[in-house]
Symmetry: D2
Subunit: 188 residues, 4 copies
Amino acid sequence: MKRIFPLALVVCTAGAFPNATKAQEKVEIFDSNISMAQVLAAQKGWCDALITISQDYRTGGLAKAKATATKVIDQAYAYQYGPVAFKPTLASGSQTFRTAKEGALAYFVGNDPKFPNDKGFALTPWRTCTIKNQVIQLNGSSATTMGNVVFTEMNGAVTTVDKTWTFVREPDGSVRIVLHHSSLPFSK
Amino acid sequence: MKRIFPLALVVCTAGAFPNATKAQEKVEIFDSNISMAQVLAAQKGWCDALITISQDYRTGGLAKAKATATKVIDQAYAYQYGPVAFKPTLASGSQTFRTAKEGALAYFVGNDPKFPNDKGFALTPWRTCTIKNQVIQLNGSSATTMGNVVFTEMNGAVTTVDKTWTFVREPDGSVRIVLHHSSLPFSK
Amino acid sequence: MKRIFPLALVVCTAGAFPNATKAQEKVEIFDSNISMAQVLAAQKGWCDALITISQDYRTGGLAKAKATATKVIDQAYAYQYGPVAFKPTLASGSQTFRTAKEGALAYFVGNDPKFPNDKGFALTPWRTCTIKNQVIQLNGSSATTMGNVVFTEMNGAVTTVDKTWTFVREPDGSVRIVLHHSSLPFSK
Amino acid sequence: MKRIFPLALVVCTAGAFPNATKAQEKVEIFDSNISMAQVLAAQKGWCDALITISQDYRTGGLAKAKATATKVIDQAYAYQYGPVAFKPTLASGSQTFRTAKEGALAYFVGNDPKFPNDKGFALTPWRTCTIKNQVIQLNGSSATTMGNVVFTEMNGAVTTVDKTWTFVREPDGSVRIVLHHSSLPFSK
């Protein structure tokens, strides 16, 4: 789950730039933006983590799944910096919004008496997690994606959700989720 | 619906600041951030606009409602600058995401053969629209809100949705929606 | 001087992205960042504008130079949105900082009794203006450059300055200077 | 020199906001912007650090001054994340721009054979360092200041410089300089 994106300290010969006069001069670039590749890697990281927690539950039980989920949430979400805007797919009522880490963990692995309706989304025997982006917005160190995520279970059952994420790239190169709104498709 | 927020060109006497040495010196402030008040005004503007479109439909029919909705979308969303991440509450299937203005208009006032499932969300006889924020994230010229919006109809029926918005304040002071994910609460 | 950078509404086939499952799906990209090419074009635009004002002075006198300079400042600086952090090379004393448009215009074309020390930097018979970047920082919709700008006059005289700019790209695609600190090289 | 600004996790009763319907509801705020107070504290931190290095030189010699300067640069500048746009007041020639930490340290305490012209700006017996801001620009997590800084020596000598800083607030609450352009006032 470690996603360290080395900071973009690119030293290019100025010859690559139109105004350069001497090929031997150097321009140092400090690029603090999140790139498209980093956004897609962060999305894939979320999917991979979900599958890993699910596998860990099957191979190591709740303890293993919970340990993995704790690590994943610490690394992939921004709870240590402030309240995350997280509306999980199956959360409802007065516990719809999980702005603190505790609520995120309960959502993923359940078994928390404070969140009695949480079955543990990641404990489902997931087999695949696939992202289908519709729109991606790049705004400096943050980026928003909106689209579908398709989950398949071991038994072949398919769940599709509408999902929005905003990822923020920090100065140390890590990428964290500050916004996550997921919902089941509307049906009459 | 016009929401012009004058740019924060505040000229303060430096005496207000700790390092100032002479009370008569001036510091000019250029504040390009969106303020909490601007965020709340933009949310209220969205609610007010919905109620207005609904009223216009009752008093002036589809033509009036559509004219108002067109103006509202032009002013409140950022479609003229790029694809908006808009997942309306009741949109589904291959038309779930309304990244272009046309799809937003169809969602609000329906009657567009290209969007056959759109009944026109704003044509419902809405009476009130109330915002209940859970988390607000302030990030320079943009801000994200997540929480519930509660709609009541003339007949007293209540609809509650889970809603996320990201608003961007532009240099001219206008505030526009770049992200809007709305969903019905999950229920088993 | 018109520098309209069309907004990056790129529609790519999702096949280009790692998580894509169907080549026919599309991802819409809304890129609000300023690109390296836009930064370099804005710098070149500044140089070109200086040379143009200088030529206009020689061919059309002060009136023509002043008209061009007014247009340049309106388009290349952000004075209409707030106080610009502008420290011109040769400004000094209580008029060192030109946070309002009036002071920028006086600096470039002089002949303003309110700025008695301004000779009009752009009225010098400039022949070339060359940018030598040392560092470029890309931060979303804004970018900072630091380095030298080398001016040569018709008679061959060379002036080198240390120059820092921060450019901001607005939603309409225009790029404007919000920070400009220029100084003569230090010499003992 | 430690400047930890706790993250703005303000939990307010929604009653403070216009759209609130129940006083007992809470809105969590995640404010990632740099505040005016943080900007002024960072400026003062720079001045205080300069005076401290100068004092340390007098009381503990070069070793002590260099140790303090190293710590100051690590904490107050962003060299660990990328090239800083730093043009010190008295740097010149091919060593005008100090984009790496090594060049910043040499500028402040001298005694580095790779930077033979550096006398060590902070080794001067400085007594006071006073900031006179002319313009402050607040742009989300970063802020730019432009104005004068006035230094007085033990013997009463006064040095005034034109100075521009851009400070960036990181998610951990620290505030770092990414841009620093300082120059002696122009005089004919």
